[in-house]
Structures are given as C-alpha cells and as structure tokens.
Amino acid sequence: MNKRKSIVILVLILAIAVLAGFFVFPGAFGNKFLPWKLGLDLVGGAHLIYEIDTSQILENDRESVVEGLRDVIERRVNLFGVSEPQVFTAQSGNSDRLIVELAGIKDVSLAIQEIGATPFLLFAEVVNFPNDLTGTTTLTQDNFIPTELTGRYVIGAALTFDNITSQSQVNLSFNDEGAELFEKITEANIGKPLAVFLDNQLITAPIVQAKISGGQAQITGNFTLNEARALVSRFNAGALPAPIKLIGQQTVGASLGEDSLSQTIFAGTIGTILIILFMIVYYRGFGFFAAIALIIYILLTLLIFKLLSITFTLAGIAGIILSIGMAVDANILIFERTKEEIKKGVAKLPAVEEGFKRAWLSIRDSNITTIMTSVILYYITTGFVRGFALALLIGVVISMFSAITVTRTMLRVFTKNL
C-alpha cells in the first residue's frame, strides 16, 4: 500500500476520533442532542420485579391481560414524575413478570405503595353464602367462584351518593365486552348474591334483583368518603386485570450511584494512563503509536455505546475498562514479532509488515474465546452480567480494528525505512 493512501486513511481515522471525542465527552456539544443514558445503579433508583398471577386467566387471554396490566402500571408510573420510567414484561418459564425501573426516583417506598395500590377488582358468584360477612372475608374461601369479570373491563369510575343514606358509592363503567359479561352474570344470578372483591377483600355482596344491561355497576361498601374518592381515582387510572406481587427489588441511593460512577471512571483513567506509560517505556516509539491507538479505541467504543443508545451501567463500564486492558494485547503480539524480525536483520518497515502478518492469526484466535464467552453470556443472562458481556463484546471487536488497522496505518506513515 502506498504512503499517500495511508496518510488519507490516517487523517480520516483521526478526524473520526476527534469528532467522537466531542460527541462523547460529557458537557461537550454531543450531549445536547444525545445525552448519555445512565443506568439506575449510577444515578440511583429502583428496579422492581413483580410476579403477575395469571392462574385465573384463560391461556388465550394471557397475552392481552399481561399487556393490559403493563399499560395500567405504566400510566400510574408516569405520574411519579421520573424521567423515562421503564415498564416491561418478561416471561420466565411459566410465569409472567412485570419489571418497573424508576431511575432517579426519590421516594421508592411511596412508589411501591402507589403501584401496589392499583386496585384489582373481581366479581365472584356465591355458592354458599358465609354467615359472617365481614370485610376480612377473602376470595380464598370455598364459597366463591370467580367470574371472568375483573377490573380489566372497567373503563371508568365515578363517585356517587346514595339518595337516602348519603352513603358514598362507586359507580363503575364497563367496556362493551365487560357489559356483556356483567349482563350474563347478573342474568344467571337473579335472586342470588354477587360478591365484589377488591384486592382480594370482599367489599360487598348485594342480591341481584334483575339482569343489568348497559355496563354500569354500583358498589356500595362501607367506604368513607376519602376511601371512595381514592378508589375512584385509582379505577380511573386503571384497574389491574390480574393481581401482582413484588418478588424482588433493587434500590440504589443517588449518592452511592454517583460515587460508583466517579470512582470507577477515575479508576479507568488511572488504569489507562498506566498502560500508556508501560507501552511507551517498554516499546518506545512503537508504544507511543499503540498508546494513540488505545485512546482512539476508547473514543470509538464510547461513540458506539452512545450511537446505539446503550444504557451505561456499572457493569458496562467495568466491561469497557477490562477491554481497555486487553486491547493492547494485539499490539504487544505484533511488536514482539516485529522485534524478532528486526533482530534477524530485517529492515524496519518490512519488519513491521511481517510482524502484523504473522501476529494476525494469533490475534484472531485469541479474541475468539472472549467473543464466544460474551455472546453466550449476553443471550442467556440478565442484568449486571448482560451489561458486562455486551460491553466486553463491543470492546473486543473494536479493539481488533484499532490495534491492527489504526496502529498499522500510523506505523506505515511514520516509520522511516532505515
């Protein structure tokens, strides 16, 4: 390859690196249109894992119920005022999960309460009416058969008062499907009580007087005015189509997250400086180019992270720093080979070319195991491990480019054939 071509490539690489530098550096212009996305282990926040109880739901409905539930929770979570809350579902074996991520939230316990307060409503037929009808009667007893009519069919609620007793009541409106169900259920239970459960507690069990069509139901419990009001607003935010249970949480305080971020970036910087010093002291001129290639490598890796909008987590940073430590491996392989060639009496420039040629197979082979490991880890695992694996993978792939192409181009341009 002729020298002029190498110079053009080098200028191009340097231009991209400088642009990448401006783009990724916090506070520089890149932040304006694409800010860093930081994981909640770095900015503080909560990662909540709920289990969705789909045992009462027909298999065909499962998907729509889970999706509906996600929407309801998302609407609630959006009211918390955290930026970009994440609500998503995941299937794990036979059970469905709902995962809520609230980065930067201040009061986690309040958020958990609010999410948990999303009402779960269920109508149940009564088989054998219990005598001691109290507020603590739960659905688990044998006297009730749950119907298909649940909060998922509720489209709105309103607060009303009984004309005679002034008792607060909650008026529920069902959607068409729910109205049809309600009509069927009331028709089948004329003269019998119909139990209404809210969050698994029996609220009321009025005797059905007639078939009710039109999709309006009225719940008269022993609500105080405030309870009724809270209930109405919760129903309007959406009722849960299936009950959920908190089975795992991870909460990181903002100060711990900030400390982790600054400490680890500092550590990465020190580690990088040590590598650069080592390379320059041990390999002299070659080492200097390897050091520049390393800096370009770091900039490019960060650029890829930012362009792909990958959320930066502590694990990801650890993966990147680790890959920085490995990135010069290719250069070391090449330089050791080059030194051998020079010892044999080969001129410098051909020695460099020979070093690259001979080291290439080793470089390719040696990176394959790390690539395999990180791909497997990425696809199988979740959370910390996944972020680490992704960073390691991206890092190793880019390092093959930087250590070979970038270093070789620089050496081609600057090596004088003595």
Partner: protein, 295 residues
C-alpha cells in the same frame, strides 16, 4: 529461561496450589450470595450518629427479631446488612425503628431477591457456564484439529483443558477460603468472572502452542530436540504473555483499589485468574506437553 529443564519444580508448585484449592473447597465450602439463594442486602449510612456494626446487629436481633442477619462495615462508613428475604412492609417497619433508635439514616442500597428469582438466576448462570465450557472445548478441538508431529493434536487440546481446570479451580479455592475468613460470597458475578478468566487463559495457552507448532515445522522429532523447540517457543512468547497480563492487571488493580466497591470481588476474581492463567500458560501447558511426549 530453561523452563522445560526445571519443569518438575513448576509443575509441583501448581500441584500444591490446586491441591490446596480443592482442600479449601472441601473444608470450607461456599457461602452463596443473595442472587443465588435469595435474600436481602441492605446498605445504610448513619447521618447523625456513629453506629457500630455490632450495635446494629444486636438491635436487629433483639428488637426487630430478624434471625440469621449479619452486619458488616461497607465503604464510606456505611453498614451492610445481609438477611433472609425482607418484605417491603417489613423493610419500611425496620427502617422506621432503626431511624428512631439511631437517628437519621440514608439508605444507600436495598436489594431483595426472592427465592424464585434466585433460582432463575442460578439456572441461567449454570446454563451459561455449561455452554461456555462446551464452546471453549469445541473451539480447542477446532484449533488443534490438524495432525502434527511428534505430539498428536488432541494432546494439545487435553493439555489446554488441564490448564483451564487449573485456572478455574484456584480462584474458586481462594474464594472458599475468603468466605470462611471474611464471609465473602460466591455470587453470579463470581461465576461470570471465572468464565471470563477461562476465556483469557485459553487464548494465552493457544498463543504458546501455535508457536510450538510453527517452530516444529522446521525441526526434527527427536526427544531432546522437541524439548529444545518447546523451550525456545515458550521463551519467544513469554514477553508477550507477561506484558499482556500486566496491562490487564494495571486496569484491574486500578478498579480494585479505586473503583466502585460493588465491583471489588468481581475484579479480585479476575485478578487471581489472570495471574494463575499466565502462570499456567508459561509453566504448566508446555512442560505437560513434553512430559507426555516422553512416554
């Protein structure tokens, strides 16, 4: 360096380390992290008063009546509580009680992993572990598929697997010991760190073996000459092996001493693995090869 000539010393040293690790695992066993067995990890910092780990531990045992809890000092004067799974209601209740007893606190971290999720994470980690081992073995078989003289190619593969075992068992043994001494736990991150170490170690060994095969192309196959070729090959790659590990160790030590405390044991595992992996690729892999050749 006459590595092959002194191979008995190097192999004996490795044998001692591996035996000690196996003994450590058998004697001390493992302490598992909450991401494997489920449980709660709670890190708090007292703002008003200085509270010792013992005082908090006693309070939790006697007042909150939580059993099997452990309190340890964390970074920046915080305390880390490890317990069985604490529900959200209990969490709030305990928080209020600790608050009224010891004054204002800041919650740095609260992690609860139910046994269901613990089980899932464990299954995933085991699956990943088996797959990675399988992939690495396949890769080794692929790399050494070509028949070479005077040592048949599958022997290279077996030796690589032996060094792999060496590199994995020593960090595991060290962590069993640390678990006994300081309560250090084996968690999912540890398993991942061991996998990463195995990946590094394999390629280190492959670089040395590649060199041996390259040099063998030109030599004859008498025993003495074979030993000489192997010794020369190890010496040709030794600078590369050590330098590569050194640059990796620079960043690892930087994170270990300066980085986030949550990464500490993850990084320590990789540090131990990198050191023993470098040792094995220089002082175990090639000597084993010449030992085998003799028979």
């Amino acid at each position: 360096m006459n590595i092959i000539g002194h191979k008995k010393i190097y192999l004996f040293f490795a044998f001692i380390l591996v035996s000690a690790s196996v003994a450590s695992i058998l004697v001390f066993g493992f302490r598992y992290g909450i991401d494997i067995v489920g449980g709660t990890l709670w890190q708090i910092k007292f703002i008003e008063n200085k509270v010792s780990a013992e005082a908090l531990n006693q309070f939790i045992a006697s007042e909150l009546k939580v059993e099997g809890t452990q309190v340890a000092s964390g970074s920046t004067e915080s305390l880390i509580i490890r317990a069985k799974e604490i529900s959200e209601e209990n969490h709030q209740e305990y928080l209020a009680k600790i608050n009224s007893e010891f004054g204002a606190i800041e919650e740095l971290r609260f992690e609860t992993i139910g046994s269901v999720i613990g089980q899932e994470l464990r299954d995933k980690a085991i699956k990943a572990f088996i797959l990675v081992l399988f992939a690495i073995s396949l890769y080794i078989a692929f790399v050494f598929r070509k028949v070479s003289r005077p040592v048949s190619s599958w022997k290279y593969g077996v030796v690589t697997l032996i060094t792999l075992f060496h590199d994995a068992i020593i960090p595991i043994g060290v962590f069993a010991f640390l678990g006994y001494l300081y309560g250090v736990e084996i968690d999912i991150n540890f398993i991942v760190a061991v996998l990463v170490v195995m990946g590094f170690s394999v390629h280190d060994t492959i670089v040395v073996f590649d060199r041996i095969r390259e040099n063998l192309k030109f030599g004859s196959s008498s025993k003495d000459e074979f030993n000489a070729v192997v010794n020369a090959s190890v010496n040709q790659t030794i600078a590369r092996s050590i330098n590569t590990s050194l640059t990796l160790l620079f960043v690892l030590f930087a994170i270990y001493f300066l980085g986030a405390i949550t990464l500490k044991y993850f990084i320590l595992t990789i540090i131990i693995g990198t050191v023993v992996g470098t040792y094995s690729s220089i002082f175990i892999a090639s000597p084993l090869l010449t030992l085998w050749r003799r028979r």
